[in-house]
Symmetry: C2
């Protein structure tokens, strides 16, 4: 599982305060904690600072990479912010995220085209959130083909079919899961990624639901996720599910995690 650590996000109070105070220690600590817990990318988001987003996002990239020897997922639809962040980024960054929404698409595609950047591609258009598997496949088809035409390699694309709350419609869980399976089959070699927590919106016991949904999504082929790497229950769910579906030779990873006391 390719884990994108979600914790450096200005929508979190402590992170917002740290950014305002240019408190590098706090940001570095969050970055290194995530790196030590299997993150492959450190997501950085300064979206609540509309005016200063470019400056702050670049600072977050620099600060996070001082503490974690990992690439960042640059989490913004603002091309100025993405550009500023890319300028200081070391290694190959991930862009989080492009979609078929016209403004976002027009802003980000020129920055992405012809690069070896990793790209999260949301199955979203100006017509709103997709509902059925077919809706998602239609958007994905156009978006993935556009990215390929712009010389992004298929294996650098992380397609996100967008999780919607099962409390709103009982088919939303399976709609997402079937989309993961269909996209993985249709575009051989593509990655998938998503935030899962939307599945449990409006229900109690959200952690339990999110973990069970992760266990099901891994069965359907999900291989990337935007999560809190410090959530031991979620990490247990991932390790366990990967062993069960045969993604873990001789259950070595599972046994290592169990013996290291990483399980909740």
């Amino acid at each position: 599982m390719i884990i994108i650590g979600e914790l450096i996000n200005s929508s979190r109070k402590s992170v917002k305060a740290a950014i305002e105070a240019k408190d590098a220690d706090t940001i570095r600590k969050i970055a290194s904690d995530q790196a030590e817990n299997n993150a492959a990318y450190i997501d950085v988001n300064a979206g609540t600072f509309v005016e200063n987003e470019p400056e702050y996002l670049a600072w977050l990239v620099q600060t996070a990479q001082e503490a974690a020897d990992l690439p960042c997922a640059i989490d913004s639809p603002n091309p100025k912010a993405v550009e500023a962040a890319l300028k200081v980024h070391k290694g190959v960054a991930m862009i989080n995220s492009i979609s078929l929404e016209k403004e976002r698409y027009d802003n980000l595609m020129p920055l992405i085209a012809g690069t070896d950047l990793k790209v999260v591609a949301l199955c979203m258009s100006d017509e709103g959130m997709p509902v059925t598997v077919d809706d998602r496949l239609k958007i994905a088809d156009k978006l993935v083909n556009d990215l390929l035409k712009s010389n992004i390699a298929l294996e650098n694309i992380f397609i996100d079919p967008l999780v919607q709350p099962v409390s709103v419609d009982k088919t939303y869980g399976t709609g997402f899961l079937d989309s993961i399976e269909a996209l993985t089959e249709k575009f051989k070699g593509i990655h998938t990624a998503c935030g899962l927590s939307n599945i449990s919106y409006g229900l109690p016991g959200r952690k339990q639901l999110n973990r069970a949904f992760m266990i099901q999504a891994i069965l359907k082929g999900l291989d990337g996720a935007i999560i809190n790497p410090l959530d031991k229950g979620m990490q247990t769910a991932i390790t366990t599910a990967e062993a069960l579906v045969g993604r873990d030779d001789y259950c070595m990873n599972y046994l290592k995690a169990f013996r290291a006391g990483l399980f909740e």
Copy 2:
């Protein structure tokens, strides 16, 4: 989920002792505990008593049904024991289980044919445990068609593709899960059932693995399971997974269980 409560089994020390002492209170308590925790069938097994199995199995049926207003799953390959148990059973029992193994098949088929009994049908033959999905489908095909020809209704059959340990071969988990899906699709209206705990044989953290496997099996269509109904973690896994896959209208069951404090 159709839960078959597995706790009245003479391979458990306390149950064996209770049977030997004709301690009806202990058996009644185990039966009513399971009934209060969503069991649909009370499994009864006196298999360790070779000689007295018929007498003891009948006594278990009578005693369990004194305490739980539920049918029993009569768990024996011995036709004399099954016959004795059926003689005293109230309501429509489940037979656990027939298979294509010649001796078991020849012993049990005459007792089952033409009845409205529920039947657990194991994907097992004298050639041993099936390994691939195709192996299972081949056995299932013959077994299900034999049962249908013997006037067992399809909806009374609980087909069990047999779980094997993922520690032995990393494809054994998905082999089982894909079989559940294939059998559910091939025989519309059939039920599936199994004991899950074999999946985690040879690994530590078995409860965690068993629950995650249940969550995946429900996604693939599993609708029956032989479990310990008092295992709150397993019950949480079932309720959560059923809500996620749309088997729980308006998440009512999930909300009810959560509010009743049934979640681990």
